[in-house]
Structure formats: structure tokens, C-alpha cells
């Protein structure tokens, strides 16, 4: 088992005719993702490497039975693209677009959650259930090398770090059950603790690895769930961005989300809170496997 997607999940790609959509989709198909349709208004009837393209998500869903969508639409159109997917009944949405206008993001997230759908992003490179399926650019053409199948659930605020974390797990003899780049924008569809709950319920996940940053309340929610006993599997966490605390508050660094807003959402405060709640904090990639070995043997 894995979370959110597996090898039977039928996936469509909104914006499949753009360069990034084509580039990623090719690697996804090669990996084994069941990509059944593409959507680009005005390109209906065409195909991209044999994948039929439709003008609307609704028509693509009607024909293909897709339940997941990966969206390659630039920021000005991303809100509508998500709303269109939700309207068509899509249940797992991956929105790669970054720097989405705040009001648009709030609307798209509210609509997705109201429909009981799941939104990975904004500002994600997707998710992967190693050996089964991947959505988005995650792993590129080296997904097999970077994401070894295994029993650790990985969830990262940063897309690129998901590869480094998974490679570090592989180097330490561990593999990944599912790895999610949850999104690095200030407003994202689902929180860290919601992924933790999924991993907690997944019989094929033994422990979880999280990567966080300053500037959101994700780690606070995770810490609460750990303290409340809602999450019982071992949790290893990295929180980067401690350096910001020695610079004047408000300098724009990293993801827009990584802005110091209060002492409480600084990297070191999050590390402390998670540690006090029972998570194991890694400061270097090499430490992750050592911490897991202590808990899992």
C-alpha cells in the first residue's frame, strides 16, 4: 500500500502540451504512472506521445475515468485550473505552480477542501510511491535511483529536498513508502499533520521523515498530534532556516513562505517544539538514518 496514489490510479495532466508538462509526463509514463489523458483548451483531439488531449477536464474525466490530476498551468490561470479539476470530481490534485497569488490560493484551497479532495501544492514537484507511480517532476529521469522502495513515509515542504532526503535514506539502507513534496507556497492544500495521519494509517509505513522551514504552522500541528498520541510511529524531522534568526526579521529568503513572522515559527523554535513532542531532530542528512536505526533497529 501507499498513500494517495498507487499503480492503478488513473491520472490526467492539465497543461500537457506545454514544455514542462511534456517533459515531466514523459518521465512519469516511463516510470509507470497510468497517465490516461491530457487537457489543454483548444488542443482537444490532438495527442501528446499517444496520450489523448481534451479541451476540458470534464470531458477528459468522462472518457478516461481519471481521479487524479497534475496541473502545469502558470500562476495567472492556476486558480481556475484547480477549480475546474474540483468541479470535474478529481480527488487528488497536484498543483506545481509556485508563487500563486495569495487570494487565488485561498480560494482554490477552500474549494478543494470543501469538495473533499486533496491538493498537493502549490509550489511542489509532486509525489512518488516508489515502484508504483509518480505525479509531477519528482525524481526526473532518475526516480529509481533517488527513491528506493521501502517503509519510510517522507513529506517535505521543499520539492528539491525530497530527493536529497530520499537519497539520504537510501544511503542509510532505508527506502520510501511514499514521498510527498507538500508545497512550499504560503498557502497549500493540506498540512503536514494530515500527511502524518495518512502515514500513521498506512500499514506499509513504519516511520516518517519530515522536512520543514520557518514561516508556517505545519510543524506546530504535527507536534500537537505527537503530544496527543494521535501519531505513534517514529518521526524524524529536519527544520532548516536557523540562519535567518541572526538576520533582521523580514528579509526575503528562500520560499516566500520562509519569512520570519514571529519567534514561534522560527526554525529553532520548531526544532525545539518537535523535539519536546517526541520527534527526533536531524541537523545533517547523514543523521537521519542513524536516528531511524535507534528507533527501528
Amino acid at each position: 500500500m501507499s498513500i494517495l496514489i498507487d499503480d492503478s490510479t488513473r491520472v490526467l495532466v492539465q497543461g500537457i502540451t506545454g514544455s514542462q508538462g511534456r517533459f515531466d509526463t514523459e518521465y512519469c509514463v516511463a516510470y509507470g504512472t497510468n497517465i490516461v489523458a491530457g487537457v489543454t483548451p483548444g488542443r482537444g483531439g490532438q495527442d501528446v506521445n499517444g496520450i489523448p488531449v481534451y479541451n476540458t477536464v470534464k470531458s477528459a474525466v468522462d472518457v478516461s475515468g481519471a481521479t487524479a490530476s497534475v496541473i502545469y498551468v502558470p500562476a495567472p490561470g492556476i486558480k481556475d485550473a484547480v477549480l475546474e479539476a474540483v468541479d470535474a470530481g478529481i480527488k487528488v490534485i497536484v498543483a506545481l505552480t509556485e508563487n500563486v497569488p495569495r487570494h487565488d490560493a485561498a480560494i482554490a484551497v477552500a474549494a478543494t477542501r470543501a469538495a473533499g479532495a486533496w491538493l498537493i501544492g502549490f509550489n511542489t514537484n509532486g509525489m512518488i510511491s516508489p515502484g508504483k507511480s509518480k505525479l509531477g517532476g519528482i525524481g526526473g529521469d532518475r526516480a529509481n535511483e533517488l527513491y528506493v522502495p521501502g517503509r519510510i513515509g517522507v513529506c517535505s515542504r521543499s520539492g528539491g529536498m525530497s530527493a536529497e532526503l530520499s537519497a539520504a535514506l537510501a544511503a542509510g539502507g532505508y527506502g520510501v513508502s511514499s514521498c510527498i513534496s507538500m508545497g512550499g507556497d504560503p498557502i497549500i492544500g493540506n498540512d503536514m499533520v494530515e500527511y502524518a495521519r495518512m502515514f500513521e494509517d498506512d500499514p506499509d509505513t513504519d516511520a516518517m521523515l519530515f522536512y520543514g522551514e520557518p514561516g508556517s504552522e505545519n510543524e506546530q500541528g504535527l507536534a500537537r498530534a505527537l503530544r496527543d498520541g494521535e501519531i505513534t510511529k517514529p518521526v524524524v524531522a529536519m527544520v532548516a532556516g536557523v540562519f535567518q534568526e541572526s538576520h533582521p526579521a523580514g528579509l526575503s529568503f528562500g520560499h516566500v513562505a520562509a519569512m520570519i513572522r514571529s519567534a514561534d515559527d522560527s526554525a529553532s523554535a520548531k526544532q525545539k517544539l518537535l523535539s519536546e513532542s517526541g520527534a527526533h531532530i536531524a541537523h545533517r542528512l547523514g543523521e537521519i538514518s542513524e536516528l531511524l536505526k535507534k528507533r527501528l533497529g
Binding site: 514544455s19 540562519f243 529568503f253
Partner: protein, 402 residues
């Protein structure tokens, strides 16, 4: 983008919100002309920060002569770190009651914060009288209805004829907040005169930089200030312009006071590597945040800025495993920048950790630049960071010795 007072006030006026009469002046005599027309005025330095009163940036005067003097006192000074080039001269509003209203973003949705006690800092009100501060989420899929706003003001302890006016104003301002793609609006105080007429006397506003594509009106307003109002230098402005005009993802460049220049991709790897540099005793000359671009132009703009920064003594180009951008585009930009700036990697260390599609071509390009260290496959982020810190220290100390 944080807007200065004269821009907020003019935007409010354009949207038919009640604001005191006033206007900007760049010198003493212009300030006097406005004061002549308005009578008793407040003369305020135009700088993108709050708490101006405490910093001596607000003068209350009754004559045009005093307005001129206040203007000439402040213009040319540096207040809260910002050079004052102009002042805002505004009619003094007769204040009977003061209220507080703001909109900002919570984790998922906009929040409205109101208080019956305006004119003081909201944190202070919250500390002394938490019941006077009402905070509520606004459903992004809905408006903030006037009657809901009335309910909030009522809960905060406001009653009487002003209640309906505050409700209307709050609802309309929320609609404008959304329409303008603002991320923050703070009105403190909203003043009421003895007739219960409202005026937005204090108003601060921040616009979402990521929504500027649909707000041409603001596009040329923010140059010279960073996200939080910090003054940008010429290299930072050059990168900001490149970000706006060249195709590709978002590009950010902020200079710091160290000597290791970095081009790092992926916000996460940037943060982690930055922490590691600091851990190893190194200091960065800049921070960057860079997303994939279809050509070398955007990475080249950042690399030019880094190499033109006189404090930069070494360069680390280190990305997460690249899944979105071919290595040869990025390293192509690096080659071009190294050529343009005649960089000798034997005295100015350059470390590259860029893995993924196009890596073979990228490695071949770098061979033309003897001394540049391209990390071997599977080298970790830790390895690249350690190498640039060591090499830069060596280069700097060697330079001092000779």
C-alpha cells in the same frame, strides 16, 4: 510590496473611501502651499515603515511656516534606516473616537481583526484588553458581508449610529483588499468625528508581488524597496528587473555581509545549505531563490550580480537534484558569467554541485574553466558546502598574506 502612505491614501481616495485631504511634497515650499490650503496639518515623512510617530517622523503644525520647517527638518534625514525624500502633508482630522481594522492572511484564509480601541498598537490593546480585539477568518469563497462585519464590531463593544457605517466600510474595504490583491491592510486609526463621520486617518498596505501581473497600476511603484521595505542596491534592483522582464520562474537575490556568493536552487536546499555554511564558520555574500527558467538569461542575471558584488570572494552553484531544469542551461549561464567577468577559479574558488538531466554536457562545459570544482556524482550537499567554505577561507587568507 509595501506601499508608502501617499500611495495608499491615493488608492483609497480613488476607491471612494473617506481619507483626510492631503498630498505629497518634495520640499518645504510645496509643503507650505498644501498647508496654506488645509490649515492645521500633520507633516509626515514618507517611508515604508510603521511607528513613525515614535521615530520623530510626524509633526503636527498649525501654520504654513511651521509646515515648511517640519518638511525641511525631515527631508534629507534618515529615519528608521530610510532616507526621507518627501513628506505627506495631511489635514488634521477632528477625532472623537478611534477604531482599529485590519485584514491579513492566516495559514489558509484571510483574517479580519477589529478593535474598538484604535490609535494604539494592536498588540498593546490585545495585551491590556483582549476582549476589545476581535479576530475572525473570512471564507475565501464568500464576501465579508456588512451584517457580519456589524456583528464583529458589536462583539468588540461598539454601538450606536457608527455601527452601521463601520459595518459598511469594513465590508467594502474587504472587497477592495481582495480586488487589489493586497496581502495586508491596516487602518489605525479609523477616526470618527463628533457626527460619527468616519475617516481612514492611518492606513498601511502591502500588495502581493505575485499578483502584479494583473495590476499594472502598481508595477512601477515599488522599485527600490524589497519585500519588507528594505532599500535595494543597484545589483538587487537589476535582478528584480530581470525577474520581471525575463521569462521563467521567480528569481530573488538579497545581499548579505559575508564573502561566499551562492546560486542555489530550491528554497529548501538554499536554507539548509545556508545553515550549513554558518555552522562551518562561513559567511554568505548573498541569498538567492531561483526557479527553473527556459534559458540562461535569468541565472545569468543573478550570477552577474553575485560576481559584481565586490565582497564576493568565492562562488557556490549548488542545487538539489534537478528535475525541472537541464544542468547544461544552468551551467551554460555559469560559463557565460565566468567568461564575462574573467574569473580565474584558481584565485576565486568556484564549486558546482548540479546533478540531473544534461549533466554530461554541463561537465564538458566546465572543463574549459580550469580550477572550477564540479562535485563528483553522489556528493552530498554537505560536501559541496564544506569545500566552498574551505576554499574561500584559503583564497581570502592567501590574498591577505601576499
Amino acid at each position: 510590496m509595501r506601499l508608502t502612505e501617499e500611495k495608499v491614501k491615493s488608492w483609497l481616495r480613488d476607491n471612494r473611501f473617506p481619507v483626510p485631504d492631503g498630498g505629497p511634497a518634495t520640499n518645504a515650499s510645496d509643503a507650505a502651499v498644501i498647508a496654506e490650503r488645509l490649515g492645521s496639518v500633520a507633516v509626515k515623512a514618507i517611508i515604508p515603515t510603521g511607528r513613525r510617530g515614535k521615530a520623530g517622523a510626524v509633526h503636527l503644525v498649525d501654520t504654513p511656516e511651521d509646515a515648511a520647517e517640519a518638511a525641511s527638518t525631515m527631508i534629507g534625514q534618515t529615519i528608521n534606516g530610510y532616507p526621507v525624500t518627501d513628506v505627506y502633508v495631511e489635514s488634521k482630522f477632528t477625532i472623537d473616537e478611534e477604531y482599529y481594522l485590519s485584514f491579513a492572511f492566516g495559514p489558509r484564509a484571510p483574517k479580519v481583526v477589529i478593535s474598538r480601541q484604535g490609535g494604539v498598537e494592536i498588540e498593546q490593546t490585545f495585551e491590556c484588553d483582549p476582549d476589545a480585539v476581535i479576530t475572525a477568518d473570512v471564507d475565501p469563497l464568500d464576501d465579508l458581508k456588512p451584517w457580519d462585519a456589524v456583528g464583529l464590531w458589536e462583539r468588540s463593544g461598539v454601538g450606536g449610529p457608527v455601527l452601521a457605517r463601520l459595518g459598511q466600510l469594513t465590508s467594502r474595504l474587504y472587497a477592495a483588499f481582495r480586488e487589489a490583491d493586497a496581502t495586508m491592510i491596516e487602518c489605525n486609526p479609523i477616526a470618527a468625528d463628533s457626527d460619527g463621520q468616519l475617516s481612514l486617518v492611518g492606513a498601511m498596505m502591502e500588495i502581493d508581488d505575485n499578483a502584479l501581473f494583473r495590476h499594472r497600476y502598481w508595477t512601477n511603484e515599488g522599485h527600490g524597496f524589497g519585500a519588507e521595505g528594505r532599500i535595494l542596491n543597484e545589483r538587487e534592483i537589476a535582478v528584480m528587473r530581470a525577474n520581471e522582464t525575463l521569462p521563467g520562474g521567480a528569481l530573488r537575490y538579497t545581499e548579505l555581509d559575508g564573502n561566499i556568493g551562492i546560486l542555489m536552487g530550491g528554497g529548501g536546499a538554499s536554507l539548509l545549505q545556508h545553515d550549513m555554511v554558518v555552522d562551518l564558520g562561513g559567511k554568505l555574500a548573498n541569498h538567492t531563490d531561483f526557479s527553473p527558467a527556459p534559458s540562461i538569461d535569468k541565472p545569468l542575471a543573478v550570477l552577474n550580480a553575485i560576481l559584481e558584488n565586490p565582497n564576493t570572494k568565492g562562488l557556490l552553484v549548488s542545487f538539489n537534484y534537478l528535475q525541472l531544469l537541464p544542468c547544461d542551461i544552468l551551467v551554460g549561464a555559469l560559463s557565460e558569467a565566468l567568461k564575462q567577468h574573467n574569473v580565474d577559479a584558481h584565485t576565486f574558488p568556484v564549486v558546482v554541485r548540479v546533478f540531473g538531466p544534461g549533466e554530461e554536457e554541463a561537465r564538458a562545459m566546465i572543463e574549459e574553466f580550469p580550477g572550477v570544482r564540479y562535485m563528483p556524482p553522489k556528493a552530498s550537499l554537505d560536501d559541496a558546502v564544506k569545500l566552498i567554505v574551505d576554499l574561500t577561507n584559503e583564497a581570502v587568507n592567501g590574498g591577505n598574506a601576499s
